[in-house]
């Protein structure tokens, strides 16, 4: 599963990335936020409201609220088979 944590500035993105790394995640910087990937169990440690079928936006956990504006789940991608 992949999520984007949207932020308003580069400085906030750096803060969020640092925080996620401290929590053991491997975030990637995006132009408008931070990409976070992993299995449901590990992501739920950070976002308790996450479910396996979640799509669209999710509430921002308090821990990340000062820097993260919103969280969105990427819909599944499939191969052009």
């Amino acid at each position: 599963m992949e999520l984007i944590l949207k932020v308003d500035s580069d400085a906030e993105r750096d803060i969020v990335m640092e925080r996620l790394r401290q929590l053991g995640f491997d975030p990637l910087a995006m132009k408008v936020g931070v990409l976070l990937g992993g299995d449901i169990a590990s992501l739920r440690r950070l976002i308790p409201t996450l479910t396996g079928t979640a799509i669209g936006s999710l509430p921002v956990p308090t821990d990340l609220a000062p820097a993260v504006r919103s969280i969105h789940v990427f819909g599944p991608r499939s191969l052009h088979l």
Binding site: M1, E2, L3, I4, K6, D26, L28, A29, M30, K31, V32, G33, L35, G37, D39, I55, G56, S57, S70, H72, V73, F74, G75, P76, R77, S78, L79, H80, L81
Partner: protein, 494 residues
């Protein structure tokens, strides 16, 4: 016999067998070892070993754990583990694929070799570690009949009408003349986020240049492709641009699920390749109820940023699906054209083709590569890891259509889709960029579009049902790419 375009030997991925059969020549008055072109003595008696030496060597070998299978006045046939042969020679036992010509066909057969500093270059021949052993030389048994060559580096046959890489694709996509002029995609790197990449012998035998694959999911194996899709589709690139460099990036987990493909794209972008080709996308409802969601828009921004930084981003148009990726402004969307056995060209009814309801002026596809037809586009014989998901599914019947008549574990699969078209278009783009490296993505797209073969028959997949017509249309865009013409256009106009 004409010289083969395949190398005489190539690296092998087959494991060394647990038990190895070899032959040990016991030292006599004359020796056949030491020089590859040594002439044979008039009589075999000159090579006979003394009974004393023969007994001594037999004892030594048995003590080392070898099983003696047969014996003659010249030497002993023996069975042992590879490690025992390594101990005997001080070298390493390795597998090598050797090209053999048999029954009018060429194929690679797995051979064993003893390699090491003091070992002769002749395939399968070794020398003893110690001269005191009274052994003249060691020969590992050569395969005397066709063995498992795995997988074959040459496309397997199928009674179904299909195209074989690389030549059929190079011809139909107009790349041959460019190749003859030495334009082969040199100095261009194409990154490919996909399911992974496996070093199939097809790539080695054709001497294609592939960088060590990267992974987006930590702790997954970069050498594996459990699905087979990335491996198969990457062969399309090289059919058009044989000298280009490929950087595969695996976006699947250990089960082959596409869980980190956005991350794989970001990793590709960070490498700053000239081209990123993508044979995957999201799948949204059509016609859409509203605009793209925020997650997709954030990805669209990422793609647009790559393009603004000079990276040509290609996405497959989709196989009847509707998704944001091929619609992102600036993306080259690759659709599908089918060329049948009579040479008739038409829009593939398997490929997506529509005018974007989200982005003004965007038509999906921009141009087309080769793609099969509905309901099952068994069109290109592509290399896959043996026994991978695609190898198995392609060989099985599906929806009343027979499989591809290859085995589920032979490393070849008959398939296609806009997954194939995207890397073909990437290959043509690499030819352009190898001659004009400073071109912007829009210029590469212009060169491909202006020189594409206009397709006037057929229609896109049923969901969109757009007809191919003279000129640009919503089924095939500008038409089927012609790589050589696009290179010439770019040279002349830019």
């Amino acid at each position: 016999m004409p010289r083969s375009r395949f190398p005489a030997t190539t690296e092998s991925h087959n494991p060394v067998p647990h038990k190895v059969i070899g032959y040990v020549s016991v030292r006599g008055k004359q020796s056949v070892f030491g020089h590859p072109k040594k002439r044979l003595h008039q009589s075999a008696r000159a090579y006979h070993a003394s009974k004393r030496d023969l007994d001594s060597v037999r004892r030594d070998l048995e003590k080392s754990g070898f099983r003696i299978l047969a014996e003659s006045p010249l030497g002993l046939s023996l069975l042992g583990e590879a490690e025992q042969f390594e101990e005997l020679t001080g070298g390493a036992v390795r597998t090598v694929e050797k090209l053999v010509h048999t029954g009018g066909v060429q194929k690679y057969i797995t051979h064993l070799d003893i390699t090491g500093k003091k070992q002769p270059k002749t395939l399968g021949v070794g020398l003893p570690k110690s001269k005191s052993l009274k052994i003249d030389g060691i020969v590992l048994e050569k395969p005397r009949q066709s063995q498992t060559v795995f997988p074959s580096p040459i496309p397997l046959p199928s009674p179904k009408f299909h195209l074989n890489p690389p030549n059929d694709l190079a011809v139909l996509l107009g790349a041959v003349k460019a190749h003859q002029k030495g334009i082969r995609g040199q100095r261009v790197t194409i990154a490919m986020p996909d399911t992974g990449w496996y070093r199939h012998p097809y790539f080695t035998a054709n001497r294609y240049d592939i960088k060590t694959p990267m992974v987006a999911v930590p702790r997954t194996d970069p050498r594996k492709d459990p699905v087979g899709h990335g491996t198969a589709q990457s062969s399309n690139i090289f059919a058009v641009a044989p000298a280009t460099k490929l950087q595969p990036i695996r976006g699947t987990d250990s089960d082959g699920k596409l869980v980190a493909i956005i991350a794989a794209f970001l990793k590709a972008k960070a490498l700053k390749p000239q081209i990123i080709t993508n044979s995957w996308s999201s799948d949204s409802q059509y016609p859409p109820a509203g605009g793209p969601d925020e997650a997709d828009m954030s990805f669209a921004v990422e793609v647009m940023d790559a393009i603004e930084n000079g990276i040509l981003v290609i996405f497959g148009a989709g196989n009847g699906g509707f998704s944001i990726e091929p619609q992102i402004p600036g993306v080259l969307a690759a659709g599908g054209v089918y060329v049948d056995k009579n040479g008739l060209y038409r829009a593939s009814d398997f490929a997506s083709g529509y005018r974007s309801p989200w982005f003004r002026g965007v038509v999906v596809p921009t141009v087309c590569g080769l793609c099969g037809m509905h309901p099952r586009p068994q069109y290109l014989m592509l290399p896959v890891p043996a026994g991978s998901q695609l190898d198995r599914s392609a060989s099985a019947a599906q929806g009343g259509v027979k499989g591809d008549f290859t085995a589920p574990d032979d490393g070849w699969a008959l398939l296609s889709g806009t997954s194939s078209a995207a890397p073909q278009v990437a290959g043509a783009s690499a030819l352009i960029l190898s001659t004009k490296p400073r071109l912007r993505p829009t210029q590469v797209i212009k060169a491909l579009s202006e020189t594409a073969l206009d397709i006037v028959r057929g229609h896109s997949s049923k969901k969109f049902n757009q007809r191919a017509r003279p000129g640009r249309d919503n089924a095939t865009g500008w038409g089927l790419i012609n790589a050589t013409a696009a290179v010439a256009y770019a040279k002349y106009h830019f």
